[in-house]
């Protein structure tokens, strides 16, 4: 009988429950895998990234990347919360447009047996750029 595949149980919590940050602020998140000892993880990486969504193909930019050792003397035990901190840049701001969206998130990627790679992410907002409204013609007195 085929052994049952164990799916990682991942939680990502932001410090103080915050989900919105100003440009230049520090973001802190705690990452935990409840069944860490039950899964056979080959590699783990925690990152702070922004990516685009919407109609266009996805663009990805990695702001902070941490490779978490899973074996050896420095092995990380993700059954205990792992704290990831990073100072956010001033741009690009989070944006929820019509066909273009810019999304910031904290991401945990695990490489499992059989070359299977799974990613878990928790989104947050950087800045307060407004979502667009339908174009409007406004009267404007010439200078």
């Amino acid at each position: 009988m085929k052994p049952q595949r164990v799916e990682p149980d991942v939680t990502i919590r932001f410090a103080q429950g915050r989900r919105t940050y100003a440009p230049g602020e520090g973001v802190a998140a705690e990452i935990r895998v409840a069944n860490w000892r039950a899964i056979d993880c080959r590699r783990a990486e925690a990152s702070v990234v922004w990516h685009t969504a919407g109609k266009g193909d996805e663009d990805l930019h990695v702001h902070e990347l941490r490779a978490l050792p899973v074996s050896g003397a420095d092995a990380v035990d993700l059954s205990s919360p792992y704290r990831l901190e990073a100072t956010l840049p001033e741009c690009p701001l989070s944006y929820d447009g019509v066909i273009v969206k810019v999304c910031w998130c904290v991401r945990l990627r695990l490489l499992l047996p059989g070359y299977r790679s799974v990613a878990f992410e928790a989104p947050f907002r950087l800045g307060e750029a407004w979502s667009p409204s339908p174009p409007a013609e406004e009267e404007h007195a010439p200078a």
Binding site: V98, V100, W130
Partner: protein, 461 residues
Amino acid sequence: MPMRSRFRLWLKKRGGRRTGTQRAALSGELLYHSVFVVVGAVALWLHVANVLLPSARSREDTASFREAQCEIVSRRIDIQRVYTGYRFSLSEGRVVRESHLEYRPECHVQLLVDERPAPPVWAPAGGLTPSERAAESALARFQAGQTYQCWVDLDDPQQIVLARPRLWWPWLVTLIPLSLIVLGVVGGARSVLRVGVSRERRQSVAQRARGWESLLTPTSPTAGAALPDLGAVIDSPGVRLPYRLPTVGDSPWRVAGMAAICVAWNLLVGFFLIGLVMDHLSGEPNWTLTVVVAPLALTGVYLAAALVRDARTATGVGVTHVEVSDHPLLPGRTYRGVVIQAGQFLARSLTVSLVCEEEATYLQGTNTRTSTELVYRDAVLRERRLEVTAGKACEEEFSFTIPAGAMHSFSSPHNEVRWALEVRGTPVRWPEFRRRFMMCVYPTALSVVPHTSQHTEGAAS
């Protein structure tokens, strides 16, 4: 989920979805790349065994020969049967030996030793070749009764050769199988690395490489922040205000490109039309060709009309410039601008609008498609009944405000948010024109100090 209003029969796949497991995908890719390696290795072995080694042996064998003079007595092409292996013959129902004919050009030469002719011997004038034409070509260089240079074995004067070719092309041909092997090895290595390396890691390495590259070549300080490059605007000073904005899209090259297409199309159609007309006049009309060429001719007329319209707009309306007081711009702030319109025409209206649009590029199968969406528009100048006279450009000043909290300009490989000032004019005798001028809006918190108006404005005309 709403139904599509138009059902497309053939729809190319979008996105990076995979069918199957990562392991199956890796196995397939490694098999694909290993085919290149195997084919390249087999081709390399055959090339080395059949071309390079015989050529090297031939040169090695004649390395100790000394130069001499000989006279050609007669010529021939020696035909030899070369056996290459075995195959099963279906017609004979048994294994037969495979063979083919090969040709060697030879000359009967008489060596001149101490001014006395030695007994003539047969000397090869070229190597063994499967091509009879190549052998004849090699033999054609030697004529009976003429004296030629030859090489003689000092230990055995009966061994004479007429040619010691230096072949360079076999080494060039070696590049073909080598390139197949390299392609296969590199491709296989990339497949393995891609599976073992996360997308974030690959992107991080690429970003670091771009950072090193920026140390060698100067780039914009905002190159890694997904902000557009300011160079096109900062490098272009205005005459009334500090910055002249670059035009987006519409350019003289567009009219030139359209003209080239129109001329090429109509020349091709004209070529067919001449023949058709002559057939019709001679009483032998080709109706099938007429039906095919008719829509092409109509298209040519449409292209010509569009070209005339665009050329009239480009030349008759004149150049439009837009200048602004500061750059880059920040949300929540108000700026001054001026539109300078040249030409000679009377316009019903001239409108300047602040616009923001999103552009998304995506791959659909093998096609690259671009989608654009206008997300903000605000008219900042509206003039009625404007007269533009030759020799004196019309200048209209205006002010505009970037909305507080607006998204800044954003540029990534497949997605873009861009701000622009759009000038739209409705001339009385010319077609309506619309021209856009790009500008950069930076986020408020950016530490790069925007360039503010430092210089004195030029004297008003």
